[in-house]
Amino acid sequence: MSDPRDMFRLCACCPSPCRRAIPADASPQIETVTPSALSMIALAVIDGALDFDEPVRRSLSRTAAAHLCRPACPYGYDIAGAIDAFVADRTIAR
């Protein structure tokens, strides 16, 4: 899937079976670090519903857990990689 928006939109609406790959002792244990949540935030930025401000940049920079989820995505998406690229792109653009 070439358009990041399409991928973020699919992931944001997915019920998130990949989250099992986040270890129980990882920190933080919050929704915001799951790939689906990161996609939900990125989608909102692309659609103009959230500004790419410091809280958003901070949230989207916490991709360590999402990278662990990549092998568990049933649909083969690399959401964490796409989020990293999205943040880098937006940071340069600012």
Partner: protein, 495 residues
């Protein structure tokens, strides 16, 4: 009216009590920034998804998120909320599909995922005690490593928590053998709205009045927050015998399922598909040309037991005109049994949902025919497919999938609600229960009173006593909403 994320964010005011809350659980474990509030404003209710994909808040943003790291911290958060009259919602993995975790009045979300340890596996008693916030897939994997299974394997296994299973009275795909979660849970602990701890000791059976356990299992957080659950466990089965069956008619398949259950057999899996769902799974398999209705069964346990149950069941299947055929649909089901999402339909802006009801065997055919006819009449291009799983001697779960074609957002909300109303009304009129295992949450409020009658007043009376300020998950499971809470039905009308 529908609230955009941008408008909700502009109106958000950070509560002045955040520093005091942070003293209880630590700064790092209180979330107040807008990306976090946006993420916790939804659960996996399709209604919420329809809003989120349009950058709308399903109801309201939460005011904040607290993530206690111990039961003691959780109790402190509860007392804190009660003292300040802050409504709250416990949050596991947010996998509920009925809106039970949607904030309606800027509630405080209480995320339980830090409470995620297995406390004890008792191999003598065959029980495991686990904290409520543990991921279901990790829980089952940990048991498997010790040679056990919980037997509760919902499609949402990897995306849900053990506490969520109990809170919404869920069912796994092997429930026909192991029971629903209410049959598997033998004990629990919870923090009540006044901060005290409730304990139901884990014993096989008791005769000390009505079941307190059953007051909590399925309570969806309205009476207290589950913290610890003791469940039955079983040795991993020595054998799993899967079979694929072709039936000449839907009635023949239903009759075979019923007879198997009424002959005291306990298959681990029983699934019968209507023509719509059968055709999707049987293309190219010759046996289905004359017998177009697909069923999948699995028999498990010790090899001898599985073989005996398999043999007896196949005799019943033959009596009803069924025949065994190609294993491919069973293997495909096994491979994808924990996936509930269709990127294809999401990408093309279709709007999907599922409705699971329970019906007695004598009424299931009529329920199916009427609901199918009425839901397909909601709009051109509507998809409706059904399977029957979770079978019992008295009846079964009828699991229906709907899919609306792309259309303007306001029309989606209106027609989606219309389809639900038709299905739930028909279920009630034909003697079923409006929910088999997804729970009630917010979305089923309009039909709960008809099903429960005076029973709903009993639940409200218990809630009013335990939670006099109506702070725990207000407005869900048919309970009274708080003044000022968003009413999604009026929201839909106005959209």
């Amino acid at each position: 009216m529908v609230t955009s994320l941008r408008d909700a964010a502009a109106a958000h005011v950070r509560p002045d009590w955040i520093p005091a809350l942070a003293e209880l659980v630590g700064d790092a474990h209180v979330l107040t920034e807008m990306p976090d509030l946006w993420v916790y404003s939804r659960d996996r209710a399709p209604y919420a998804t329809f809003h989120v994909r349009n950058a709308n808040v399903p109801a309201t943003l939460p005011c904040a998120v607290a993530c206690p790291g111990s039961v003691a911290e959780l109790a402190q958060v509860v007392r804190f909320a009660r003292a300040r009259r802050i409504p709250l919602i416990p949050f596991g993995a947010g996998s509920g599909v009925l809106g039970g975790a949607l904030p309606l009045e800027r509630e405080l979300m209480v995320d339980l995922k830090r409470l995620n340890a297995i406390l004890e596996l008792n191999e003598i008693d065959g029980t495991v005690t686990v904290q409520a916030g543990m991921n279901g897939g990790q829980f089952e994997a940990a048991l498997n490593r010790r040679g056990f299974t919980c037997g509760h394997l919902p499609q949402s296994l990897h995306m849900s928590t053990v506490g969520g299973w109990a809170a919404c009275r869920g069912a796994g795909q092997n429930s026909t053998r192991f029971g629903k979660i209410e049959d598997i849970v033998v004990g629990l602990a919870a923090v009540m709205p006044d901060g005290r701890e409730l304990r139901v000791r884990p014993v096989a059976r008791r005769a000390v009045g009505p079941s307190i356990k059953d007051l909590m299992v399925g309570s969806e957080g309205i009476f207290g927050i589950l913290t610890e659950i003791t469940l039955r466990v079983w040795r991993l089965p020595e054998a799993r015998l899967g079979v694929v069956l072709a039936f000449p008619s839907l009635q023949a398949g239903l009759d075979a399922m019923r007879t198997i259950m009424q002959h005291e057999l306990r298959p681990a899996v029983v699934r019968l598909y209507d023509r719509e769902e059968s055709d999707q799974r049987t293309a190219g398999i010759a046996a289905f040309a004359e017998r177009p209705f697909l069923a999948i069964m699995e028999f498990s346990g010790t090899r001898r037991l599985a073989e005996v149950e398999h043999g007896l069941a196949m005799e019943i299947v033959e009596t009803h005109g069924g025949s065994r055929t190609d294993d491919a649909p069973y293997l495909h089901w096994q491979q994808h049994r924990y996936e509930s999402y269709s990127p294809k339909w999401q990408h093309s802006d279709h709007s999907m949902d599922t409705i699971e009801i329970t019906g007695p065997w004598s009424r299931l055919p009529a329920m199916y025919e009427r609901i199918r006819r009425e839901v397909l009449g909601v709009c051109e291009g509507m998809y409706f497919g059904t399977h029957w799983s979770h079978a019992y001697p008295e009846g079964a779960c009828q699991y229906m999938t709907l899919r609306l074609p792309p259309m303007p957002h306001a029309d989606t909300l209106r027609l989606h609600r219309r389809a639900w109303d038709l299905a739930e009304r028909a279920c009630l009129e034909l003697g079923g229960s409006i929910s088999h295992h997804h729970g009630a949450g917010l979305f089923r409020n309009p039909w709960l009173r008809t099903e429960l009658g005076v029973g709903l007043e009993m639940l409200q009376a218990v809630k009013d006593h335990l939670d006099p300020d109506n702070l725990f998950v207000p407005g869900k499971l048919g309970m009274r909403a708080r003044p000022g809470a968003v009413d999604i039905e009026s929201t839909e009308d106005a959209s």
